[in-house]
Amino acid sequence: MKRFKHNFKSAKTGATLSEMCVVIALVAIVSVSVVTFASLSSEVTKISASKEMATERVEFIEDLIEGWVENAIVNNATDLKVQDNKIVAKIEEDDINLYFLNGNLKAKFSAENESSFDCKEIKEIRFEEMRNEKDLIFFCTVTYELESANNKKVEKTNTFCINPRLDDIV
């Protein structure tokens, strides 16, 4: 067996050309694999972190809107409706509302209680309503951007329904 020595200058004792080619090819394969693994894992981490953050934010928005609607119903709010892309209602003489503006979700729960929630990841929230003789339903469409492969961003929308029922709340 010929020796694969540190001294490559020694033609008599060093590896043959074909052996060197095999080794170089294997080193190349391993290097490519390492680079692929590193880039793939960083890409996967980035994409999954982006998805997780967006999912959490959408769930937070859903909970907040549900909470706002529940609060309105529990406080005997009247005139609950969607107007100019805002959910609005009246508690006694006070106007309360919920809307999205410049990356913030603004919620006015009562005359004294008003909050603003940072939702920078969200591009847009669209509110719609539908009503019949018995019931009312709100549709909230949340648009946000997700990290995608090759540093691209993809826009995603998520719609959820909120059906404010007094029976379910009290």
């Binding site: 694969f4 020595k5 001294n7 999954s48 998805k51 019949n132 339903i137 549709f139 719609t159 329904c161």
Partner: protein
């Protein structure tokens, strides 16, 4: 001095050793890449599960709201690109799945079914949910309480 030089020259690794080492590194890398690919697959599946949960919730809310099939159709079209097919079912064709919703407003029942691209069932339910009769053990426990 000469002996040292000879020793130094004998320190090299054989081609077989080099090849085995590189093969082992290669196998480890292939395993690592397959783990990453598997995690991508798991994440895709979890995304599908989240989408299914969301769509099922929306469908149920719309169904509980709607008094007529027309109202239901209007409502679910706000939640996604549902299309009414020739059988009167509402179908949503997504990237990895197809959701079919069958309604009966006379009996106020709904059937939800989601299949993947290979037509394998991912999730299905009927509304109102089927009542599971109590087993003898369960009914006895209830009586005891």
């Amino acid at each position: 001095m000469k002996n040292n030089k000879t020793l130094k020259f004998k320190k090299g690794i054989t081609i077989v050793e080099a090849v085995i080492t590189l093969f082992l590194i290669g196998i480890i890398m292939v395993s690592a890449i397959s783990v990453v690919l598997m995690s991508i697959d798991v994440e895709n599946n979890s995304n599908v599960a989240v989408e299914l949960k969301n769509s099922a919730e929306n469908i149920l809310e719309c169904f509980r709201f709607a008094q007529t099939e027309e109202e239901f159709e209007t409502a679910i079209k706000k939640c996604g690109n549902y299309i009414k097919n020739v059988d009167g079912n509402f179908v949503l064709i997504g990237d990895n799945m197809t959701i079919t919703v069958t309604t009966n407003f006379t009996e106020k029942t709904l059937k939800y079914s989601a299949v993947d691209s290979q037509s394998e069932e991912l999730y299905s339910f009927n509304f109102p949910y089927a009542q599971v009769p109590l087993t003898d053990d369960a009914s006895q426990e209830g009586e005891g309480e």
